[in-house]
């Protein structure tokens, strides 16, 4: 909307003529507009495609390359046009931004190319219109994730070993990446085999075998051949222990390794055996010991080192934690509700299986997951009605979070596939094929990745990118506001100073104030008007045109000269404009001269109304401070 505001500004300024008969003081002089009045057509040649536009169109956004004097660097004297060696397709969108005020993101373009063009032309990506903002953000996030993964993959241990690596490092690499050496591969398969053996042994030892001679009852194989199973178990545990200790030794950061999931699984897998060894053959304790043997089944999780799919599944579940949590929560709620309802519905019947609400939980779960075992069945009509509602809602509740989990899984799976493809591609590259290609291409690729990372840094503080000098628009707008101040004989201030003024006024500076302020105040010393009728609060202004939005904190840092006496404080424009170099204003100096006139005991300073409005910032500051030095002694310069 910046264009809109700029277009209407001359109109608003012209309408300020309506304030003139009401104003007590003279209006300030308008800022001098040095730019040429007549509008002309500019020719912009982007890689051969010629664009033409009005100069005014480009001037709408003075903080960009095309709107500022920076484009003069690209001016070609021979052809009298501005030449840019960039993508003309993208430039079309950029130019449309100037024309319509809305920046659109072309969906078919690469997000990084687009970002680069924006950076080149000095346009902040935040002003992308709402219609395209979501798409832009999604693509950007996706791209960043991809880049992060790529850097991670680059750092992965697929690259050849550094020349001077200790045996420990080599061992660790062998464990993490079995493909690197044959020994590692052998070890990898051996451990895999033994995991399988151990799991199968755990399963088989519970199968009932034929009883030995003399006994009638069926015995589980584990007890019949307990020596054989014990030997197998010992062998497996020995291998696992050996592997675990090796990993622990080779790990670069032992604490981190011990905390990782895989090592926890390893420990849990081998602990029961050792505990079993240590524990005596006591009947009481053996019950607990049997429970511990359950943990041997955790050995199956060791397979996740060998299977990528399992790892992906685990990662998916981790990343869908919130959806799973929601599922669990909603299920719990529904279970409790329906169990309660069913219990009370079936309470009357004589031989009801719904003995208590927790007992009804089982029925609810079985019904909601549409299992329907039939061990608990409602017999009353009300029970049957609620039972059917329960099963219908069960389908819904379970079906809702599942697609989210599925889509997450699919995304992560594809990412992994991509990682594999990337690795394959890198191996291909390293094989030397690309070295035959043009050297410039390769260096360009390197520069490209470098630039991308640099750009990402810049993107975070892109607001600092395009701060240029004050534009004519802002000068004129401030002149307009200044005219309003003169008309009403009040000045703009911001909230902080206002509340301070309220306080100082009520404390008792009335006398000194009233005598020297303009007749508007008169001789009335009323503090009742301290906080006037209007209760509306206005937030800090953000001009549609300004690209920098400085926080409130820095606004306070802007120099505000506060006077305990009569002179009017000069902090007006600070809250309006976000730029720190405030005192370039021509109006500011006028303000001060007016202030000097109104002091009852003017010092050596002669009231000088015909000061030329000089736009120099530093002399302006100096003049203000000098002026204050002459006036009343007790002034306070806050945070200059």
């Amino acid at each position: 909307m910046a264009a809109g505001v700029a277009t209407w500004l001359p109109f608003a300024r012209a309408a300020a003529v309506g304030w003139l008969p009401l104003a007590k003081k003279t209006m300030p002089k308008p800022p001098v507009d040095n730019t040429s009045r007549s509008d002309e057509i500019l020719y912009v040649n982007v890689s051969g495609v010629r664009f033409q536009t009005w100069k005014n169109t480009l001037d709408r956004y003075p903080d960009t390359l095309l709107g500022s004097s920076e484009k003069e660097f690209f001016f070609n004297e021979d052809t009298q046009e501005y030449f840019f060696d960039r993508d003309p397709e993208m430039f079309r969108h950029i130019l449309n931004f100037y024309r319509t005020g809305k920046l659109h993101y072309p969906r078919h373009e690469c997000i990084q190319a687009f970002d680069e063009e924006l950076a080149f032309y000095g346009i902040v990506p935040e002003i992308i219109g709402d219609c395209c903002m979501e798409e832009y953000r999604d693509r950007k996030k996706e791209n960043q994730e991809r880049l992060a993964e790529d850097t991670e993959a680059n750092e992965s241990t697929d690259a050849p070993l550094p020349p001077h690596s200790t045996p420990r490092e080599r061992l660790w690499r062998a464990f993490e990446n079995p493909h690197t050496s044959t020994m590692a591969l052998v070890f990898y398969y051996v451990t895999g085999f033994f995991i399988a053996v151990s799991v199968i042994a755990n399963v088989v030892e519970t199968v009932p075998c034929r009883p030995p001679k003399g006994k009638v009852k069926d015995l589980p194989c584990g007890e019949k051949y307990d020596l054989a199973f014990f030997c197998m178990d010992t062998a497996c545990v020995l291998i696992f222990t050996f592997e675990y200790l090796m990993r622990l030794f080779a790990a670069p950061s032992r604490c981190k390794f011990m905390r990782s999931v895989m090592s926890v699984i390893d420990v849990v897998a081998i602990m029961p055996y050792y505990i079993g060894l240590v524990m005596p053959e006591n009947e009481d304790v053996s019950g607990a010991f049997v429970t511990l043997r359950v943990f041997r089944v955790f050995r199956i999780f060791k397979f996740s080192r060998h299977s990528q799919g399992l790892r992906i599944l685990g990662y998916t579940l981790k990343s869908c934690a919130s959806e799973l949590g929601f599922l669990l929560f909603s299920l719990t709620m529904a279970i409790i509700i329906f169990a309660t309802v069913m219990f009370y519905a079936e309470k009357g019947t004589a031989s009801s299986t719904f003995t208590s609400i927790p007992a009804s939980f089982w029925y609810t779960i079985v019904t909601m997951t549409t299992l329907g075992y039939g061990d608990m069945v409602p017999s009353t009509i009300a029970g049957k009605i609620f039972g059917s509602i329960c099963s219908l809602s069960g389908v819904l509740v379970i079906a809702l979070p599942v697609p989210v989990i599925v889509s997450n899984f699919s995304r992560i799976y594809h990412q992994n596939q991509r990682a594999d493809k990337m690795r394959a591609q890198q191996r291909f590259r390293q094989a030397g094929w690309l070295r035959l290609a043009n050297l410039t291409n390769e260096s360009y690729f390197l520069d490209f990745t470098e630039n991308c990372s640099v750009f990402q840094d810049r993107d975070s503080d892109s607001t600092a990118l395009c701060v240029k000098n004050r534009s004519a628009f802002e000068h004129q707008h401030h002149h307009l506001l200044h005219c309003l101040e003169k008309t009403t004989n009040h000045e703009f201030t911001d909230e902080m100073n206002y509340s301070e003024l309220c306080m100082t006024e009520s404390v008792g500076f009335r006398t000194s104030r009233s005598t020297s302020l303009s007749s508007q105040q008169g001789a009335q010393n009323n503090s009742t008007g301290c906080c006037p009728r209007r209760v509306r609060r206005r937030a800090a202004m953000r001009l549609a045109n300004s690209t920098v939005s400085v926080s409130r904190g820095s606004v306070q840092e802007l120099d505000t000269l506060q006077f305990k006496t009569t002179t009017i404080p000069h902090q007006t424009r600070s809250s309006l404009n976000a730029q720190p170099d405030n005192l370039k204003l021509n109006c500011g100096e006028q303000d001060f001269t007016a202030a000097i006139i109104s002091i009852p005991t003017p010092p050596a300073n002669t009231p000088d109304e015909s000061l030329p409005p000089s736009p120099a910032p530093i002399p302006g500051i100096l003049r203000n401070t000098q002026a204050t030095a002459y006036t009343h002694e007790s002034f306070k310069i806050s945070s200059l």
Binding site: A14, M27, L517, R538
Partner: protein, 215 residues
């Protein structure tokens, strides 16, 4: 079966109704106004052809339909005076621009007013200002009208001002104004009184010339 068909038809009927309504809305918003010819405008106003072209380009960019409604006007004005409430003053200004009382400002109104304000003679400018103040267009400015205008102007300042805005500040301002302008003390200001008083005031005369270079 019949019930099923019945419910289905009910659905389609309501959809058709809403579609018709949407079509109507679409037709309503596509209102386009084209200004009269460039030569005519050049003759009627004090702008050159080039200036008119520049003005129209900006205007058309902002309002492709060719008219500005009061709502848009108020929004634009509030952008310039974000601290306060510019809607009241914008309303009066809108009425001053909309000389034909059509409820919307067309490009001709826009340019005519600008021509007076920027390139007109002192009398014309003062006359325009008088029209602005005279809300009911009866040829007299009375105290109520003036108070409304002044209050609207003060509203634009917002809450946070220095010195702190007193509740009777507009009234005092109006009293001072009438003191100066109402020569025969009859409680209203006529156009002649207004023009005469303004011409006597040096400040006003000087300030009138400041706004000539706005475009």
């Amino acid at each position: 079966m019949g019930a099923v068909v019945g419910t289905l038809t009910m659905q389609t009927k309501s959809r058709r109704l809403s579609r018709d309504k949407a079509d109507d809305d679409l037709e309503m918003t596509v209102v386009c106004h084209r200004p009269e010819g460039l030569d005519q405008m050049e003759a009627q106003t004090n702008f050159s052809k080039r200036e008119l072209q520049v003005l129209y380009r900006g205007f058309k960019n902002e309002c492709p339909s060719g008219v500005v409604s009061e709502e848009t006007f108020k929004q634009i004005y509030s952008k310039f005076f974000p601290h306060g409430d510019a809607s009241a003053y914008a309303h009066y200004l809108f009425n001053a621009f909309d000389t034909g009382h059509t409820g919307s400002i067309k490009f001709e109104d826009f340019v005519t007013a600008l021509s007076i304000l920027l390139r007109g003679s002192v009398t014309e400018k003062l006359q325009w200002t008088f029209n602005l103040y005279d809300i009911n267009r009866d040829g007299y400015i009375n105290k109520e009208e003036m108070t409304d205008i002044v209050r609207a102007i003060y509203d634009m300042m917002g809450k946070y001002t220095y010195p702190v805005l007193k509740t009777d500040a507009p009234k005092q301002h109006v009293d001072a104004f009438f003191q100066k302008m109402d020569k025969n003390r009859d409680g209203v200001v006529t156009l002649d009184e207004f023009i005469l008083s303004c011409q006597e005031d040096e400040n006003i005369m000087r300030s009138l010339q400041l706004f000539e270079n706005v475009i």
